[in-house]
């Protein structure tokens, strides 16, 4: 089985609050998986556990079949060094971009390459220009983020993550902070990545994107995966009442018949 990512029985608790209550999930290489669910269902937490922005309370995560962390008396132990290295192979794009305002667009995209991957400046700059062209923003290389629109910022953030040559990309509600008219350009960029064979896990409220682009849709509810399958099936013929309610709540979005 060619799993890029495998998650076994993942739990995450914040104090008394259980956010994830046993998630099993596999993502094959080149697959785009969309996580759906209402706010507070744990989908962002799940995404953030994948690159250990949050430390799982229990469960195992494998990347390329290799277990992350080491087992210690029944639990898992994670070393910061291993996690840093892991994160270089997992790209993440955030709702609020998190671009570095004191650096130009090009410097933003070079930063991780130079500081973390220790690439030379010219190699990093070339790579940065390449990725900038990929997201269609070659002319913005020397701008500061403050001068970009939200959609452009988000595409720069995508380019910044891609420049690290990640095995897998995580998208955390990346269009939620954008003006509606800017959402399209970001989704288009993401669709292009899917078509290029990038492995992606996407948390989004854009049902249209899930329907047209995802290979698989997972619906989370109260910390567990309630439904999953091909988007055409899950989104058109939901098996559970909860999922139907969720979809009705999004009725402003018209899905094609």
């Amino acid at each position: 089985m060619n799993d890029m990512l495998r998650i076994d029985n993942l739990h995450k608790r914040f104090g008394d609050l259980t956010v994830l209550a046993g998630i099993d999930m596999r993502v094959a290489a080149g697959e785009t998986v969309v996580l759906l669910g209402s706010s507070g269902c744990g989908k962002s937490t799940l995404l953030r556990c994948i690159n250990f922005m949050e430390t799982p309370s229990a469960g195992r995560i494998y990347l390329h079949g290799r277990l992350v962390g080491e087992q210690r008396n029944g639990g898992m132990r994670y070393r910061e060094r291993e996690l840093c290295k892991l994160r270089t192979r997992i790209g993440m794009v955030f709702q609020h971009f998190n671009l570095f305002p004191h650096m130009t667009v090009l410097q933003n995209i070079m930063e991780g390459q130079v500081t973390v991957l220790k690439r030379g400046a010219s190699e990093a700059a070339n790579k940065a220009r390449e990725q900038l062209a990929r997201v269609g923003l070659s002319d913005k290389a020397s701008e500061y983020p403050a001068r970009l629109s939200g959609g452009q910022k988000q595409r720069v953030a995508i380019a910044r993550a891609l420049a690290m040559d990640p095995d897998i990309m995580l998208f955390d509600e990346v269009t939620s902070a954008l003006d509606p008219e800017l959402v399209g350009e970001v989704l288009k960029t993401m669709r292009q990545l899917t078509e290029e064979g990038m492995t992606m896990v996407v948390v989004t409220h854009e049902l249209g994107f899930a329907y047209h682009v995802a290979n698989r849709v997972l619906f989370l509810d109260q910390g567990v995966i309630l439904e999953q399958g091909e988007p055409q099936q899950v989104l058109k013929q939901p098996a559970t009442q909860r999922m139907r309610e969720f979809l009705d709540g999004h009725s402003l979005f018209k899905l094609p018949d």
Binding site: N51, E80, F97, F100, G112, A146
Partner: protein
């Protein structure tokens, strides 16, 4: 009463020497105090409880005790505790480096904490360590915001260094006392010295206002 500046001006080189020494103490205290302040701030912000508590204590202690007491402690008390020879110069540098570092630590802490959490996440997600994020992402942004507070603190430090004259370090104040006794012209001497401090600090504070305006104009706060 009759003003006579001649006595002062003929020995003006003494005051100039004092001025140089005042600047020397201030500059050295800044040189050691700023990095030390950064260390204290990082410790203070650490999630490691004991480290944070120790840093908090040091910061609070040096912010709440009078600098003159600190100076006397380092000059008179420390050599009794441990076998070191304290010259007035070294005692002054040690005192004001540590004393100002406590204030700088609070400025650093405020600056670092003012940076959006998303900036840390941006660095972390691309595999940066805490130190890398701090050095490359957080501090460059925080320092810009801290500049006005820094300048104000540096000026404050310059004024506080007059205390070193009490342990017989030959700063501007010490030289003034010396000259006043020698010439029996305290009125003229202290007037000139006050003017010297005024000019020096006025120029510095004008500079700091200039810098502050430029930062405001470049829109540091709207960059994101």
């Amino acid at each position: 009463m009759e003003w006579n500046f001649w006595a002062v001006l003929s020995d003006f080189d003494l005051l100039l020497l004092g001025l140089v020494n005042t600047l020397k103490v201030t500059a050295l205290a800044l040189t050691f105090g700023v990095p030390l302040g950064l260390c204290l701030a990082v410790l203070r912000l650490s999630t490691l409880r004991p480290a944070s508590a120790v840093a908090a204590f040091i910061i609070e202690f040096f912010r709440t005790t009078p600098p003159l007491v600190q100076l006397f402690w380092f000059f008179f008390a420390l050599p009794i505790l441990i076998d070191v020879r304290m010259t007035p110069f070294i005692a002054s540098i040690v005192t004001f480096s540590i004393q100002s570092s406590a204030f700088f630590a609070e400025i650093f802490r405020g600056g670092i904490q003012s940076i959006d959490k998303g900036q840390w996440e941006g660095g972390k997600a691309m595999g940066m360590t805490y130190a890398q994020s701090m050095r490359r992402i957080i501090l460059p942004q925080a320092v810009r915001r801290m500049i006005p507070a820094f300048m104000e603190r540096a000026i404050e430090l310059l004024k506080t260094t007059t205390l070193v004259s009490t342990v017989a370090y030959t700063d501007l104040m010490f030289q003034a006392n010396d000259l006043a006794q020698k010439t029996f012209r305290p009125l003229e001497v202290y007037t000139v010295v006050a003017l010297m401090y005024f000019v020096l600090i006025f120029v510095l504070s004008q500079l700091s206002i200039r810098v502050e305006h430029r930062l405001a104009k470049s829109g540091d706060s709207t960059l994101r």
